[in-house]
């Protein structure tokens, strides 16, 4: 179960630059660690984050093991029109999570 915290203003003026803040629960196991008995712990991270605005990609990030657990990503976009901002995370072991937030642009 992955939980996400997303902060997007529900309303914005056309042309306004809005900040999108995201936080998702994930342990981001680096793959560089070993248990005390010497067994390597396999990598298990989120590798990709994509944001779309009414279907068009507005931001994308490749994440590496150096991203802290419970990844936090903040970026900006211009509020162009009312609609849906979709955020999706994908990664190792088939991890996939998607969130959609509606925005009203006046």
């Amino acid at each position: 179960m992955a939980r996400a915290l997303i902060n997007i203003p529900p309303k914005a003026k056309r042309g306004e630059i809005i900040t999108i803040r995201t936080l998702i629960s994930h342990h981001m196991e680096t793959g560089f660690r070993y248990t005390t008995t010497g067994t390597q712990i396999p990598r298990d991270i989120i590798t990709t984050f994509v944001a779309t605005y009414n279907g068009e990609e507005i931001f994308r990030a490749d994440l590496f093991p150096a991203i802290a657990a419970n990844p936090f990503i903040t970026f900006t976009t211009v509020a162009t029109e009312s609609g849906t901002i979709a955020l999706s995370w994908s990664g190792d072991n088939g991890f996939a999570a998607t969130e959609q937030v509606q925005i009203t642009v006046e």
Partner: protein, 257 residues
């Protein structure tokens, strides 16, 4: 009845006077005040605080029916925003049946075994952290209380534990957290060690953790034999720490380095 209350209040006053030499309330300092601005910012905004991911889980668990009784927390307690307001600020609280103080995690587990009729949640499990974070959030901004005179024996026991030297390094909690807070232990500023933000999202852990987990960190650092999670010794230490922190503002779920 009124006399009993008065007597209890007197006991509490006497208790606090007797301990005036420990850490005077006017010297109390939350480690929030010593945190870097970036770490404070993480705690200040709920959408930046990773602990809120656990709160969301806790909020869902609060509504989830469990156990043979098929009851959710909400079935008895209703809206946690009202019913749980102040609960974390006065735990550990005295439990009459057990004749001992019970911390917030213990209280949740008593509800699970007695009311929901299901297994208690293990310490540091995602579920117990989630529920305790959700309940503790309802006390955010309230002052820590420690008034119940029945807690005095545990407070004394916890205080003794706090004061005594132990472990291979032969240190007591008191040496760092009462006598040397603000100094640097290696690169880290020594905090006063208050329980006002638990469960905390600790940057070092990269996860949420309980006060008992944190206490065990210190005991390990002292190279002392550790107390098991949930042990009466750790609950007594928690009870003393709450007395020592009385009046301080609950920050739960806080972010700490």
């Amino acid at each position: 009845m009124r006399r009993a209350v008065l007597f209890a209040a007197m006991l509490a006053v006497i208790g606090s006077l007797a301990r005036a030499s420990d850490l005077p309330p006017d010297k109390q300092r939350s480690s929030y005040q010593d945190m870097a601005p970036a770490t404070r910012a993480m705690q200040d905004a709920d959408t930046d605080n990773p602990a809120m991911l656990w709160v969301l889980d806790g909020e869902a668990l609060w509504q989830t029916k469990a156990g043979n009784a098929g009851r959710a927390c909400a079935d008895c307690h209703g809206d946690a925003k009202q019913s749980m307001r102040g609960t974390a600020a006065r735990h550990p609280a005295f439990d009459e049946k057990l004749n001992a103080p019970v911390n917030l995690e213990g209280r949740i587990n008593i509800c699970r075994t007695e009311q929901q009729q299901t297994a208690p949640l293990p310490y540091e499990s995602k579920e117990l952290l989630a529920l305790s974070a959700y309940v503790a959030l309802q006390s955010r901004g309230l002052p820590i209380e420690s008034r119940d005179p029945r807690l005095e024996p545990a407070i004394s026991a916890g205080r003794a534990e706090f004061m005594r030297r132990q472990g291979q390094l032969n240190l007591g909690c008191v040496h760092c957290h009462d006598q040397r807070f603000g100094e640097k232990l290696a690169g880290s500023t020594i905090p006063q060690g208050h329980p006002n933000g638990y469960p905390i999202y600790r940057l070092e852990w990269q996860t949420l953790g309980s006060l008992q987990r944190r206490l065990r960190n210190c005991l390990t650092g002292m190279r002392a034999d550790n107390y098991p999670l949930g042990s009466p010794e750790l609950v007594a230490l928690e009870t003393y720490l709450m007395r020592r922190a009385r009046g301080m503002t609950v920050e739960s779920p806080a972010v700490r380095p």
